[in-house]
Symmetry: C2
Subunit: 336 residues, 2 copies
């Protein structure tokens, strides 16, 4: 099958760039130093490539991701880096033989883990991003409660998410965040200090493991920060209409693109706006407007919510419409 045979819109993954991204990250963070986050690609076939690079532990954001990874035989060490109030589905995964650790940041989430049959937790600590995680001063008490409930406390996690797209003073700011996490760790104990992401992987030397996900496929928001990863993911679209007034329309839009970080990039083109199934654009100076029927590859601004809109991603080799589709992978970790 060729790229031109695909029904548009469709997620494409350029093999050489994916392989290069995986190799670059594994060289920087070998083995257990990287706990790849599957929320960015939601695809067990891609997780399998990460496991083949020597990363046996994975980070998940949803119960469905934990279930899917375990079912795919990738359940050696799954960290659900998120709070849940009903952990019975996770307990069932543990019963099935996978290792599942869940984040807790309150008495209620500790109790949910214990009641649900999960055996291992990390204490989630708020390190500067106003989201989940307890205050460092509370972490010891939460760990105590977990141990009283018979749970193994493996350590702490924190996410300096507000620094991911930061380009100024990143190392210093990361250090400030991690000082909060290390203070909590001193009270909690355990082997794990799990933190970080694609934006801080190179500067976060305090965490024992980094939860990076976006590096594998990438997006234009991360690319703008100068990371050494290539734009492996694009959304294939077809030009369906060209106006005599100077604009053209491709068949990708709000239902095939995560829009929270802004419009997609069409190289050589100026994107006007996206609607449900369409993107209207004109040509930049020096570029020609494509013709009806032409294929384009749009670079999404945010990888995670883009992938979540698609059933499949297609591994391809080459940039043209005749490029071969090597494999088609189910985005099998979607949903809840």
């Amino acid at each position: 099958m060729r790229v031109s045979d695909l029904q548009t819109p469709a997620l494409l993954v350029e093999r050489s760039l994916l392989e290069q991204n995986l190799a670059t990250m594994s060289a920087a963070l070998p083995g257990a130093r990287l706990r790849p986050h599957v929320k960015a690609h939601k695809t067990t076939a891609l997780a399998r490539l990460q496991a083949a690079q020597g990363h046996r532990g994975f980070t998940c954001a949803t119960i469905r991701e934990v279930e899917g990874m375990a079912a795919a035989g990738l359940g050696d060490d799954l960290l659900l880096a998120n709070e849940v109030l009903d952990a019975r589905s996770l307990g069932a995964v543990v019963e099935g033989g996978a290792r599942v650790t869940v984040a807790v940041d309150s008495a209620q989430t500790v109790d949910a883990a214990a009641d649900g049959g999960v055996r291992e937790v990390v204490v989630d600590v708020e390190v500067g991003l106003p989201r989940c995680g307890c205050d460092p001063a509370e972490a010891g008490r939460i760990a105590d409660r977990a141990r009283r409930r018979g749970l193994e406390v493996r350590g702490v996690m924190g996410y300096e998410g507000h620094l991911m797209l930061e380009t100024e003073r990143k190392a210093e700011q990361t250090e400030e965040c991690m000082s909060r996490l290390l203070a909590a760790h001193a009270d909690v104990g355990g082997d794990l200090v799990s933190a970080g992401g694609t934006g801080t992987y190179a500067v976060n030397t305090w965490a024992t493991e980094i939860q990076a996900g976006s590096y594998a496929l990438m997006d234009t928001a991360y690319a703008a920060t100068g990371l050494p990863f290539g734009q492996a993911l694009t959304v294939l679209a077809r030009v369906v209409s060209v106006s005599s007034k100077g604009w053209a329309v491709a068949d990708l839009g709000l239902k095939s693109l995560g829009m929270d970080h802004g419009n997609p990039t069409l190289p050589g083109m100026l994107v006007w706006f996206c609607s449900d199934e369409h993107t209207t654009f004109s040509a930049e100076d020096g570029s020609a407007l494509p013709a009806v029927g032409d294929l384009l590859r749009a670079e999404p601004a945010h990888v995670d919510p883009t992938v979540a809109l698609h059933e499949r991603m297609h591994l391809v080799d080459g940039a043209g419409p005749d490029a071969e589709v090597l494999e088609s992978w189910a985005v099998d970790l979607r949903g809840w």
Copy 2:
């Protein structure tokens, strides 16, 4: 099953509001005056309720929607209000006994329709929104080409999408748009003048049929314009974390909400930001922050891309956590 038994995040549809919305629109636009657009709900179970109100023709935005509607026995008169360059799948639906009409706005899309085995088209006319559709002056030539290719030309369509959220001079602006469509219709012929949407259904008296979709479920962007439809759709979420610093976090985010029209609304709460799986918020003056484990119902800003992120929607009766889940419908028209 009760609402509190659902895995969050989950789409809820309040039965009384849905029924009221369907009845209000059907009273305004009875029978063939309304051609409900399925792109806003992507759910054949909901389309069946619209058909039961007497609307036998439907509007679709994708080939998958056409295929799914036909497979569900709702294929009496399906209009794909979008351009396609490969219509073979549509031809197969026609062969299967459904009636399929496709929009064309160029020689290439006319040829694709004819080559693909579609028998009926409408000429899509640009009426002010810079998207698909030919110039009115070109419409007659496109119709001629379609007839030469053996296609039945049923009329014209146009979409004054830029007026949907407009509140000033809506009728006058709609008239300007429709004057372009009627000029094209004079050259094209046929019975259909298909246009409009939820935002202009009450003022567009020039179209023979209105392609409204959002009215059934609604969103906060449309609600702000003062339409007589209630917010039937919400996203159920659970509070997973509450900070001692005054914010709380619920388990809905960029993967369960269309974000192009902005943040969701949490009644009584001030939404700070959404990330992939989380929404951080605080309480408005006079409201109490909910507790860990509490259920919330968020009102999405844009219905169409929100629905496209979910596998199912749940019909419920009542506002509390003990409200009964009456039916769970597959969002079976997703994808491409």
